[in-house]
């Protein structure tokens, strides 16, 4: 922070807390509080209990958690593969074609996700590509949505990569494929894990497109949160939401551990 006087620093902190607490931290704390409550009529929740968590970690909710984790992991790995591949291919293209490719990949983010959900539903409801009613339609929709982020962050990392490394490798007699596996991808690893974490987090929280097309036997956790609050079970919904949040943060933490080990400079 480029503020040097002590008073000014306190003022900046105060502004930060006034903005940050109500906007970012407080809603999450309210959900956390509500997840332990059965009533909330005063300032603080009352009749504290852990019963909400008992129901949020078994049966239907546990099933939904596994569904969400499997969907997010599969979608982010697929997105990472496709996004990285496209970014590497795009880096070799001329500028004009690269812009076109970038625009194509950003499209699913620019279009409202409900529309993406609907279009995936319509597109895969007819033979020969009949995915409607299977878990794959959810995974495909999530992949389409998060690939944009994988592609964007990996191609940004590729432009930052010093071409001197590839050239040194090539002058030593390494073929392009060898350079890719032994030099470029290892050097991109920190960005790849960051992209994977981002994709995972986005997929874990995806609701609007999922609502359009999830089959009854593949209900992700956000849908369950929505359903619970929709029928008025606010406290159970909060507990499920906290489980969703915790699971996501745990995975992100693990990914960031990998990332610190993979950064060389």
């Amino acid at each position: 922070m480029l503020v040097h006087s002590r008073k000014a620093r306190w003022a900046v902190w105060a502004v930060f807390l006034v903005l940050f607490l109500p906007l970012f931290a407080l809603p999450l704390l309210v959900v956390l509080g509500a997840s332990f409550a059965t009533h909330w009529s005063g300032v603080l929740p009352s009749h504290l209990t852990t019963a909400n968590y008992r129901s949020a970690t078994r049966g239907e909710a546990l099933q939904a958690l596994t569904t969400s984790l499997l969907t997010a992991i599969t979608a982010s790995l697929l997105a990472l593969t496709v996004g990285t591949w496209a970014a590497l291919a795009g880096a070799a293209l001329r500028k004009r074609y690269r812009r076109l490719l970038d625009a194509l990949f950003v499209l699913p983010v620019a279009v409202p996700s409900v529309v993406v959900g609907l279009s995936v539903l319509v597109a895969f409801s007819q033979p020969p590509m009949l995915l409607n009613g299977t878990r794959w339609i959810v995974i495909v929709a999530h992949t389409v949505l998060v690939t944009a982020f994988a592609h964007q962050s990996v191609s940004a990392a590729i432009t930052r990569l010093d071409p001197a490394y590839e050239q040194a490798a090539a002058s030593l007699g390494a073929r392009p494929s060898y350079v890719l596996w032994r030099v470029r991808l290892p050097l991109l690893l920190p960005s790849l894990t960051a992209a994977a974490g981002l994709c995972f987090a986005l997929s874990m929280g995806e609701l609007s497109a999922t609502m359009m097309l999830y089959p009854p036997d593949w209900t992700p956790l956000p849908v369950l949160v929505y359903a619970a609050t929709d029928r008025g079970a606010l406290f159970t919904g909060s507990a499920v939401a906290v489980v969703l949040m915790t699971a996501t943060l745990l995975v992100l933490f693990a990914v960031s551990r990998v990332r610190t080990r993979a950064s060389y400079r």
């Binding site: 010093d162 001197a164 490394y165 050239q167 040194a168 490798a169 090539a170 002058s171 030593l172 007699g173 390494a174 073929r175 392009p176 060898y178 032994r182 030099v183 290892p186 050097l187 690893l189 060389y264 400079r265």
Partner: protein, 351 residues
Amino acid sequence: MGIRFDSVTVAYDGNVVLDSLDLTVGPGEVMALLGPSGSGKTTALRAVAGFVRPASGRVLLGGRDVTDLPPYRRGIGMVVQQYALFPHLRVDDNVAFGLKARRSPKVSRSGIRQRVAEALEMTGMAAYARRHPRELSGGQQQRVAIARALAIRPDVLLLDEPLSALDAQLRSGMLAELARLHRELPDVSMLYVTHDQVEALTLADRIAVMDKARLQACGTPRELYRAPANEFTASFVGNANLLPVTVGAGGVGFAGTELKVDTADAVAGARATLCVRPHLVGLGEGPNRLAGVVREIQWRGATHRLYVEVDGHAVMADVRELKDPPRHGDPVSLHFAPDDAVLLPAGMSHG
């Protein structure tokens, strides 16, 4: 294996950065490409490495036309200014990279280990084999980069300003190391790109002076220093006083004085440039006397540099440390021996 440039022209978007270069580097020869930035010297090196494709002309390595070959099929070693060591690999894996990448059936796993040890031994980095590049100093990283390039036993070694990122003291040490490496590997041709005349004069068998995308002169360091072919070469290879003169009979006229120099085959009456090295200019009376006024005096420890104004022209003189140096504004006499001056045709180039 030698290197040959056969009228190689390189252009980026119609902008010519290397203009029909003709140059031959003999087997085992060290050729320095010397020039200011933007002179095309690095482009010439990259054309040999295969990172730029010439718009016209051919590049030959040992008689083989490699113009259309990708970099990985050329079998050259390369060392760049910023080392470009792979940050995710340890020192020994960096050095082994080329051997593993080539997967040559002739070199077994233990053979690779032996060659890596040899290359590290040669550059004095054997004790650092298990370190990561980020744990090494700049000079050590450059040694590893050289070991990595030498491990593949290339016939041609390209060095692109390899010492520019090092501080002055380290640079002179590495210069001696490079000279030793060249003595130990007499068959390796080296193309050495630099903007530093000292590096070029110290290391090179021959120097190619480049400016404005063109080859300006090529010759042994002694030839270029003692008898430069044009003004740019004279001023870039060593310091030089370049005095505008008029050729007379058996001498030249400068600022109203007659100077005795070898006019060779210059036509009497023509305009020319007289090149005199500052350290060959003496203070006091002597042959070819020039009278002037001290405009600036710099003490450099072992020497004094005088900037003397002679009829509106600044003349530099490097003289041994003076006990009693002249002061600013003092009138002084300068002189130089007739055979220490070289007459250049005027208007050849403007460095």
